[in-house]
Amino acid sequence: MPKNASTEVTPDNSRTASRSRSVGFGVFALLVLLLVLAFVVSLSLGSVSIPLREVVRILTGEPALKESWGTIVLDFRLTKSITAVLVGGALSLAGLQMQTMFRNPLADPFILGINSGASLGVALVVLSIGTAGTAFLAGLGALGDLSLALAASVGAGLVLALILLVGQRVKNPTTLLIMGLMFGYATSALTSLLIYFSRPERIQAYTIWSYGSFSGVTWNQLKVMAPVILVGLGVAVFLTKSLNALLLGEDYARSMGLNVKHARFFILLSASLLAGTVTAFCGPIGFIGVAVPHVCRNLLHTSDHKVLIPAVVLVGAIAALAADALAQLPGSQYVLPINVVTSLFGAPFVMWVLIRQRRGGTSFTV
């Protein structure tokens, strides 16, 4: 992230929404530019080396020099890059919502056990193929390559329903947090049980899923994934004011006239839709959801969700594209798991951002 982007903003003026919006314009222009750049880079990088000119030709609908290049760019790389943008944006936004709602800097999109539910669904499919369990899941095959995603969605959806139900009954957000953790433990235990009784090669398949990947998503799957994520994103935009109010605590928000119960329901719905959909199609992608909100808050020196929501979506998308480019190990024919890359390269970067921020004198606030 370029330094000059953040030096324009000082902590003093960031609190007022009107100022931060005007200052943010330059930053946003830069972020959009970076996103476009990252998207192009991600399309032109891969194990098979295809010249950039050919990539552009293929994208504009002209026939490629080699027939297989057309398939690679359109069916492999374009889907992968679009997926990365959606995933990065969705997870970062969901992470931001959770961090604000629970006023907890460690909160991530999966803190309420959404991914454990999804994992259980996937474990049921992957670990039971070829066994008696298949009879129950055989019908899923008719859905084309959506079966794994559907199983994960069912799992995530069940946990989501439980969270929403509990969220309406529990007053204290901390209690909700602990309830979410408990859902996570319970579903993980079931997954562990399935793993315990499975064959090594199946466990390996499940393990690979748990490393996360953008490459497994096909056009067919994007047709389902993209609209759901856009709905989750739309809901989040409507929640901007509520999130800003919640920053100061639920009591304060209530005194400002916010229907906390109502707001909480929609925040949970939005975050769970975003995180659950991502996990369903790409596996549990870690790190981005917890790190990107911190990076944005620190670089932009603001806690205003009017600025943060678009910022985390953009930065998240850029981060996901960058991570994917690294995971493809350009020039080699191998690939690395996406979770390895995000954490390995992302963690030092976030540490650098935080240390740099401390030197500036402002301590971290959610």
Partner: protein
Amino acid sequence: MKKTIPILCVLLLLVVSACQAMPTGSPQPSATPASPSGTATAEANTQPPITIRYAKGFTLEYKGNYKILTVTQPWAGAEQALTYILVPRGSEPPANDGNATVIEVPVRSFVAMSTTYFPFLENIGKLDALVAVDDATYVYNPTVREKAASGEIAVVGGGMGGPSANIESLLELDPDVIMTSASGIPELDVYPKLEEVGLPVVINGDYLEQTPLGRAEWGIFIAAFFDLEQQASQQFDALVQRYEEVQALAAGVQERVTVFTNTDFQGTWYVPAGESYAAILLKDAGAEYLWEDQPGTGALPLSFETVFEKAKDADFWLNPGFAASLQDLLAMDARYAEFKAFQTGQVFNYNAKVTDTGGMDYFESGVANPDVILKDLIKIFYPELLPEHTLFYYQQLK
């Protein structure tokens, strides 16, 4: 989740070590006391000596009235060999450095913690000696399944990746020998615990052999515990002859077909390296395996697009994961339809013989019958060479 993390770590390690442990060929561990070729000399034995020709993981020697089996490679990257002294039942064990395990033979009861031992027991008529298995779910052998269902064969856990061993049941069974494979990580292997309680455990390294004949030669290792190694050796010689006959058939083909294997999973396509078991079978069947020049015995984690670029126009697609039909493949990833082999229906998988619960005969009796696997492959690639043969382990996906 806590319990699964180490398991997952080990799986990762296994994959990594499989890729890296043996970069070219399999180096013989230095601690091999036997002659390098594993020649057995019959001193107090009137029988002809047995020469271990293909297996790199064990040697057999005769000394006086006892036999020494040395497992030179009990697990990938093992630094020390394991020694088993097989003494006639009731006789005094010879002096040894204390590191060797002494087992009285012939054994009367056998516990198998891998399904790959069944065909070898069956070949020497000793399947009756099987008293317990680690898990019956993935067994293919009908006799073993029936006996496990009726309780005649106990299910005791302890196999790789499965439930942990039921030590109490094993102590009660008091078997003459327990045979298992090992990963070399004591916390995850079953043998340290078994040794601790004094159970006679033997580590079998068959899965580390990279040649089909080397893997099949472990039948002699198992037979030695029943004093039936002569019979097993003769059976093995016949197998080698059958294998080489069909191999010679395929060696003469003028135009080799091109082949690729496995499937993508979430963007990673594991491709067997050129010196692996799968690659050697394909080579022996006269096919041009697209990654046959890749050194190593493990699997390479390639990206989908790399495999697509190289294999798009290949003639045959083999071993596509769990798929039992072309529809299954499409359900995994619609992009599979772009492969020529898919479009022409030349997709074959080794799951013709499977049980409802997931037992696969290819991984079980296939270990002892590589000649049948080879015949299947040649029938697939060059049907005119073996007009009489019908596919045994393989099926064409419809």
